[in-house]
Each structure stands twice: as structure tokens, then as C-alpha cells.
């Protein structure tokens, strides 16, 4: 039985979607806010995430980004009242696989859910046995699956937070990622450190990957805002 994480804060809508999905033989875990969604996704395995955007605590776009840091393959279907082309583009850019606007057709929703799960299963089967994801920049490389990396001083093992931070910066290549954004996405619902902690992580990453950490080529600071990965 395929498992679906449904993130919807409107009680009635959540009830109706859950009921219909269950009647189609999906196992549904429904939550009503962004932080619970992140927590639940981390604790359980899902085949699909249906995600509202306007959510209490953490919005759906940030939830999606967080999900993508941990799982690049699980299909995410946005279900939102926001219906402009810009909203759809943002949703898809943040890692969504599909976007439906409210009010929607039940049949269409069920069909899209089915197709997304089938497609993801196929991709998963095809990718099994393939080599892990490696990202190269300059003389460095990072393996996001084995947490191994090669820096200026040779091979090293990165911590989970270091991997997540690098992944977030690389996914937003040439764009500034604010400290608040990093805190929300990398540290998510867990104990929030102060922004100084991020600076320390950045310093460590620069030591690994920059020839001159004081004049960084890849991990650059944007004063008063945050950091950006440049290549």
C-alpha cells in the first residue's frame, strides 16, 4: 500500500481528501502545519507528499525545500489556493513535481496522485544500482549520499548538517540564501541555533573547499543577508 503525507491546515478539506485517498487504498498520514509535516516526513517513509502552501508555522514552500534536502525523489504535489503563474513557477522551482489550484476536481486529483506515484516508482527502479550523486566544483567534489568529500587537503567526511548546508547553497547556486532561510530549512523544527552557528559552519566549509578561506571563491558572504554559492 502506498503511503501519502497530506499537509493541509483546513480541517474539512483535509478530511475530504484523506477520505478519498483512503478509499483508493492509500495509507494517508494527515498533518495541519509545516513543522509537523517536516517532523512526520523525517520519521516515516512516504511515496507522495500533498502539500498546501499557506500553512501555519512554516509555509509549504519551505517544507518542500526541507523535504528535497533529505529526499530528492519523493514526488511533491502542491495543492494551493494561490493560482498565479508566478505561484506555480515558485512551487515547481522549490522542488514540487506538480501544482494544482483550489478548488480542484476530485478525479483529476486522484489521477495525478496515481501518475506521480507510478512515475516515481519507475524512476526509483531505474536508478537503483546507479552510482551515487556527486557534485564537482573546482578541484573539489561532494558525495551527498555517502557524506564523503574531496577538499583542498584531500578526502574528508562531512557531518549531516554540513552536507545539508552545502546542498541548500548548491541548489540555490548564484542566489543569496539568507541566514533565516538556512535556519528554517537546515535546522528546521529542531532547536534553533543562533545565526553565529551558521557562520561557524560556513567557516569550516571554507576551510575544506577554499584555497584561500579569507578570499572565498565558492562560498561567498553577502553582507547583512547570508551566503551564496558561486561557480
Amino acid at each position: 500500500m502506498h503511503r501519502i503525507l497530506l499537509v493541509e491546515d483546513e480541517e474539512h478539506l483535509q478530511h475530504a481528501i484523506k477520505l478519498n485517498l483512503e478509499m483508493e487504498n492509500y495509507a494517508v498520514n494527515a498533518v495541519g502545519d509545516g513543522n509537523s509535516a517536516i517532523k512526520t516526513f523525517r520519521e516515516e517513509k512516504f511515496d507522495l507528499v500533498i502539500l498546501d502552501i499557506m500553512l501555519p508555522e512554516t509555509d509549504g514552500l519551505m517544507v518542500c525545500e526541507n523535504i528535497r534536502l533529505h529526499d530528492a525523489n519523493v514526488p511533491v504535489l502542491f495543492l494551493s489556493a494561490k493560482n498565479t503563474p508566478a505561484d506555480r513557477i515558485t512551487g515547481l522551482k522549490k522542488g514540487g513535481d506538480d501544482y494544482m489550484t483550489k478548488p480542484f476536481d476530485l478525479e483529476e486529483l486522484l489521477l495525478r496522485v496515481k501518475k506521480l506515484i507510478e512515475k516515481s516508482q519507475k524512476i526509483q527502479l531505474q536508478s537503483e544500482g546507479k552510482t551515487s550523486t556527486i557534485y564537482k566544483f573546482g578541484e573539489n567534489w561532494i558525495n551527498f549520499e555517502s557524506y564523503e568529500a574531496h577538499g583542498i587537503n584531500g578526502k574528508l567526511d562531512l557531518t549531516k548538517k554540513e552536507i545539508l548546508l552545502m546542498k541548500l547553497l548548491i541548489e540555490n547556486k548564484n542566489q543569496v540564501v539568507s541566514r533565516e532561510h538556512i535556519l528554517k530549512v537546515v535546522w528546521d523544527y529542531t532547536v534553533i541555533p543562533n545565526t553565529r552557528t551558521i557562520d561557524n559552519f560556513i567557516l569550516a566549509l571554507r576551510k575544506y573547499f577554499e584555497v584561500d578561506p579569507k578570499e572565498p571563491r565558492f562560498i561567498q558572504s553577502v553582507r547583512g543577508v547570508g551566503y551564496k554559492f558561486v561557480e
Partner: protein, 370 residues
């Protein structure tokens, strides 16, 4: 907003510096002019002595009176003193700058310094007033624009969500034959509650539009405000099972002139807000009392409270605190605008105070016509 403040601060500093420089330059020019006038005045006796001596040599004057007349006519800035003890007064005299002339030059300089200083100050003040006015206007516009954009987001959500839910329930009822009666009953009940939510939203939108266009009229008539408050609270709390969280201290049979429909809207908005912003286990208190010529009604909650900055904008059209994307409570920012404007039509007041230890108190003060 921060960028705007920086631009206006830089502009203000530049203007003050420019006007300070303008004032200083004018005062310095006046000082130079004063010095030149004094120097010129000090040289004048030499020129005058030569010219007078020339005229005396040509025997133009019969006596000192004629000489004095000639002198006073031609050299009003100088004084002529005869020295008869030293011989013929026509040849023995002294010409000096007049003290009055020195005083006049100094006075003129002082007047100019005052004039430029005052002009500078007045201009700086006028410009400051203009800058502050422009800044406030821009700030208000930006705020309104942000509120309108927030309103668009919230109204989109508030309109589409119940619609989506009703549509989905109806489609489910058509598609699923296997639903048991309780499930069907629950779906219909939820759909009806969404219809009520939509109706309330449409009512609020229409009322806000009418109030904004000053086209909402109230009919003041004798209303038992105690009964109306009781009825409105029950109507809101009973279907939502909120009565156990409600505490009321309502004086009996208080009557006053009011529009009952408008007051019902006011009470519904305030009671729904009190519950909306209170955690699930906290009480909401409603009191009604009379004091001198006023009926006082208070809605007290124990929620998170409202910041000082938000309190100032609370009754503005479209105002909602925080970010619409991550809001815990749903709404449109119309409710308190409607409340405030309906109370204005009753010549009533509403104030918002902090509750202790947490939460807020909305206090209505309605004129009492016993």
C-alpha cells in the same frame, strides 16, 4: 520601508547642510560688504577734504555757513568740525566719518544676519515639514499596498478553501456509493458550515465596501442590548461547542438606542476574534455594565496579545498582523475595520488594552439612552 527611511534621512541631512551653507555664505557676504562700506567711509574724509579745499581756494564760500551747507549737501555720511581757534575757519576744519553712518552700517549688517538666519531656519523648517509629509504619504501608500497584497492573498484563501471543500464533499457524495449514513451526514454538515463561512465572508466584504463608500446607514431604535449580546454570543458559541470556555457578566435589561443588525455584527466579529486568537484551553470573558451615560461592553481573551505597533493599525482596512503565508489564524482584515466604522455610526468608541497576564481587552463604550 528601511530603504525609504535611509533615503529621506540622507535627503534631510543634505538639505540642512545646504541651507546652513546658504545662510553662512550670505552672512559672510554681508560681513564683507560691511567691511567694504567701513573702509570706503574711512577713505571718504580724505576725498572730501581735497574737494572742499579746492572749493574754498576758488572762493566759493562767503562764510562757514555756506561751506557747511555745501558740505552737508554733498557728504551726508561725514561730519564737518570748524576749528576757529586755529585761524580762518574756512581753512581750519576737520572732516570725519559720521558716527551715525557707522551705526547705520553696523545696524544694516546685523539686520541682514538676522534676516538670513531667520530665512534659513524658516526654509529648513518648511522643507522638513515637506519631507516628513512626503515620507508619511509614501509610507502610508506602501503600507496600504502591502496590506492590499496581503488582503488579496487572504481573500483568495478564504474564498477558495470553503469552495474547494464543498466541491470535494459533493463530488465524493456523487462518486462514493459505499459511504455510510454518518459519513454522509458529516460531509453535509461540514459543507453547510463552509457555506456559512462563505456567506459571512461575502457579508463582511459587502459591509466593508458600503462603509468605505459611506453608504451604510444605521437606524437607531430602542434595543435591549443585554439580550442582543446574549443572543449573539449563543448563536456563535453553541454550534461551535465554545460555551464551556465562555464566561459572561452581563447586566440585565440594559436598553439603548442602536441598530440591532449592526451591533450584532460588531459583537459577532469581536467574539469570533476573541476565540480565534485564544489557545484552546483559555477562557473568553464578555461583560456588560453601565457607567454614567455609557454602556460598557468588554471582550477579554487570554491569547498572545497584540504588539503596540499593531494596535495602532488594528482598525485599518485590510490590516492583518504577520505574514499571510504562515498565519495560524485565517481572516481577511475586514472585521475590526467594520467594527470600528459601525461603532462610529453609533457615536460609540472602541479601545484595545492589554489583558493581564496575557491577551487583549476590546472595550466598547456606547452612549446610554435610558
Amino acid at each position: 520601508m528601511k530603504k525609504l527611511a535611509v533615503i529621506f534621512t540622507v535627503l534631510s541631512v543634505y538639505i540642512v547642510a545646504a541651507f546652513a551653507w546658504w545662510t553662512y555664505a550670505h552672512i559672510r557676504n554681508s560681513k564683507q560688504l560691511q567691511q567694504a562700506e567701513i573702509e570706503n567711509l574711512e577713505l571718504m574724509p580724505y576725498r572730501a577734504t581735497l574737494q572742499v579745499r579746492e572749493a574754498v581756494d576758488q572762493e566759493m564760500f562767503a562764510d562757514t555757513n555756506a561751506l557747511k551747507k555745501f558740505f552737508e549737501f554733498n557728504y551726508p555720511q561725514l561730519d564737518l568740525y570748524f576749528m576757529p581757534d586755529e585761524g580762518d575757519p574756512l581753512f581750519n576744519y576737520m572732516i570725519v566719518p559720521s558716527k551715525n553712518t557707522f551705526d547705520e552700517i553696523n545696524q544694516r549688517y546685523k539686520r541682514k544676519v538676522w534676516m538670513y538666519s531667520l530665512e534659513g531656519i524658516v526654509m529648513v523648517l518648511l522643507l522638513f515639514w515637506g519631507i516628513i509629509w512626503v515620507y508619511h504619504t509614501l509610507q502610508t501608500r506602501l503600507k496600504l499596498k502591502r496590506q492590499q497584497s496581503n488582503f488579496l492573498l487572504s481573500i483568495t484563501h478564504e474564498l477558495k478553501t470553503p469552495l474547494a471543500s464543498i466541491k470535494l464533499y459533493l463530488e465524493t457524495l456523487i462518486k462514493r456509493d459505499s459511504l455510510d449514513p454518518q459519513q454522509k451526514q458529516l460531509m453535509l454538515k461540514n459543507s453547510l458550515s463552509d457555506v456559512t463561512r462563505l456567506r459571512d465572508l461575502v457579508d463582511n466584504l459587502l459591509t466593508a465596501a458600503q462603509l468605505d463608500a459611506h453608504k451604510f446607514n444605521v437606524t437607531l431604535e430602542d434595543v435591549n442590548i443585554s439580550e442582543l449580546l446574549h443572543q449573539t454570543i449563543d448563536k456563535y458559541c453553541m454550534p461551535r461547542n465554545l460555551s464551556s470556555r465562555l464566561e459572561t457578566v452581563i447586566a440585565k435589561d440594559v436598553k439603548t438606542k442602536a441598530d440591532s443588525l449592526a451591533m450584532e455584527m460588531v459583537f459577532t466579529n469581536l467574539i469570533s476574534n476573541a476565540f480565534k486568537y485564544s489557545p484552546g484551553d483559555k477562557k473568553v470573558k464578555v461583560t456588560l455594565s453601565t457607567l454614567e451615560k455609557h454602556v460598557n461592553i468588554e471582550f477579554v481573551d487570554e491569547g498572545a496579545g497584540i504588539s503596540k505597533a499593531d494596535k495602532e493599525q488594528l482598525f485599518d482596512l485590510f490590516f492583518r498582523a504577520g505574514d499571510e503565508n504562515t498565519r495560524k489564524t485565517k481572516g481577511t482584515g475586514l472585521g475590526l475595520y467594520i467594527v470600528k466604522n459601525l461603532l462610529n455610526l453609533h457615536h460609540a468608541e472602541i479601545i484595545v488594552n492589554d489583558n493581564s497576564p496575557s491577551g487583549v481587552i476590546f472595550k466598547i463604550s456606547l452612549p446610554y439612552h435610558a
